[in-house]
């Protein structure tokens, strides 16, 4: 399942694309002149290299009517028209450049837990395919695992739009790596370190990317790696990782049963048990999962969506108030 195609020049209100392109060009030139002295020409992706945070999805503010029905692009015309955004500060004019600084105060479309465990030949990652809009199960085919290169996969829980932005950053990174053509590919450890810095820097600007990321992979030397980064920049590496509800429901099972020398079948069985428990006990979850594995010899493989068997017909559920009228 490929990621939904994300077009950067998406218009929301029928404004001609050409005019906006010219405006963005002008702005980019303005930034380079201003920031050139402060920030040396680096090979970081454009959105980080150009100094203060600029989202790739912003348009010029002037005359643009915000389309509030679109959850993907949220560009307020003025502070009052958006209920949840912090009012953009107009004092820091030289930083703002007429564009609003967006503060993510609450996530809108969210994904829930991502689980990852090491096994003998590599790593296994699993998550469900739900993009929930609050308590509505809105998008049921969201792939929350992104393949970075032949050694690494990244899974995300939390705000889906921020995950799509992170996927774009990782794609830029991989493209640059490809263009270097030096025979080295980015290892999972390096991608994990990169994402730690991205998330921590965004958190320091009070504009976090609302995600809990899981980076998993096997580097060219054959060493497995699983790391986690949170929206505050908290990061750690371990043999097994879980985000969101998986922290409470899956981590006890992993601590009891996960071993670094498990076979693939054992790892898949353990993962399926953990996913089943999540489906039983997490409110915003659906019975549609994907598994992704990275193994030493074979690179990255992402499975097709599957469902698990669930048992709802326990005898005790049949007439629970038989002996306790008024209970349920």
């Amino acid at each position: 399942f490929p990621l939904p195609h994300w077009s950067r020049t998406r218009t929301t209100s029928g404004e001609p694309g050409g005019e906006r392109e010219r405006e963005r060009e002008g702005e980019r030139r303005r930034w380079t002149r201003r920031q050139a002295a402060m920030i040396p020409q680096s090979s970081l992706p454009s959105h980080i290299a150009s100094g203060p945070h600029v989202s790739p999805f912003t348009n010029s503010n002037a005359g643009l009517q915000a389309d509030h029905r679109s959850e993907d692009i949220h560009v307020p015309a003025n502070a009052a028209s958006v209920p949840f955004a912090v009012a953009p500060s107009t004092e820091h004019a030289e930083v703002n450049l007429g564009e609003p600084r967006k503060h993510t105060t609450s996530p809108y479309v969210t994904g829930n837990s991502v689980l990852a465990i090491k096994y003998k030949e590599g790593v296994l990652m699993a998550c469900d395919m739900l993009g929930a809009y609050g308590s509505t199960k809105r998008y049921k085919s969201v792939q929350r695992v992104f393949k970075v290169n032949e050694t690494t996969i990244v899974g995300a829980s939390g705000e889906i739009s921020d995950f799509q932005y992170i996927s774009n950053l990782l794609e830029e990174l991989t493209t640059q790596d490809f263009c270097y053509d030096d025979g080295c590919t980015l290892s999972p450890k390096e991608i994990h370190a990169y994402l730690c810095r991205v998330l921590y820097n965004r958190r320091n600007k009070m504009d976090p990317l609302w995600n809990s990321l899981v980076v998993a992979g096997v580097d060219t030397a054959g060493e497995s790696f699983i790391g986690s980064v949170g929206m505050l920049g908290t990061s750690y590496t371990d043999s097994h990782v879980a985000t969101s509800f998986g922290n409470y429901l899956s981590r006890p099972l992993f601590r009891e049963f996960q071993r670094d020398d498990m076979s693939l079948e054992e790892a898949i069985a353990l993962m399926q048990e953990a996913l089943r428990v999540l489906f039983y006990r997490d409110k915003t979850s659906i019975n549609k999962f994907i598994l992704a594995k990275v193994s030493g010899g074979e690179g990255v493989a992402i499975s097709k969506p599957f469902a698990l068997d669930t048992k709802w017909d326990l005898k005790a559920f049949v007439n629970p108030s038989k002996h306790a009228v008024g209970s349920w």
């Binding site: 429901l249 428990v277 005790a316 002996h323």
Partner: protein, 284 residues
Amino acid sequence: AQTMEERAMATERPHGFDFDLCNRNAWLEKQGLKQLKPWSTGTTIAGVVFKDGVVLGADTRSTAGETVADKNCEKIHYIAPNIYCCGAGTAADTENVTGMISSQLELHKFRTGRESRVVTALTLLKSHLFRYQGYVSAALVLGGFDCKGPHLFTVFPHGSTDSLPFCTMGSGSLNAMAVYEQSYKEDMTKEEAMELTKRAIRAGIFNDLGSGSNVDLCVITADGVEYMRNMDMPNPRTFTAVPAPFKVGSTTVLKHKVLPLEQSVTITTTEEEEQGGGESMDTS
């Protein structure tokens, strides 16, 4: 002089909810009194029904804020000879509520002449908790065996109840529930149920900060109750408070000097003492 009726009316307590103490507490807080933090049992409690009975399990850590107040408290409370109840939430609330209902049940047992039923305890508990609208912070797992078979119920602080084949409560409930959901089978044997509950409580102990120390189990069947206090102690104390004494010769001896006491102390005996085993204290 008041008549009998007037006196009765004056002392008659109003029916319904009585929140006088809440008003008093709010007033005290406004005066600047710092609210005492209740001792809470940040807890893992669990119960499961097996073929012939019920197994209840609990950890043994009691917390006051971020400190462990009691490392080995008892969270499985006696209600009746065939009914036991695990309690999570504020320790005072769980202990007193279960104690009250236990007394009421015993009086009821004398009145009816029959063995107590679990639903009686359930109804008494839920009525009491509902009267206090959740302010009595007691989350309970009630289990027992009566003439109708094994029963397992959860009672929430606001007074709602569930009848379930397995249930967990407390801060470690999600961790324990993961183990139950993974491994529960219908019609387990007693050993399987005990092992499952022990695993569930251990999941709470090792994955939740509010739970810790040891595992208590209580098995209730038609034959009676097996109360296994501290049946599993996975957190032994591995350090000694008092260090082991040092071996003779650990430290090099530099000088060795012995002073026999007779040289420095003169022992005299008076005539009275020689005669009659005299008084050591001079009372003259």
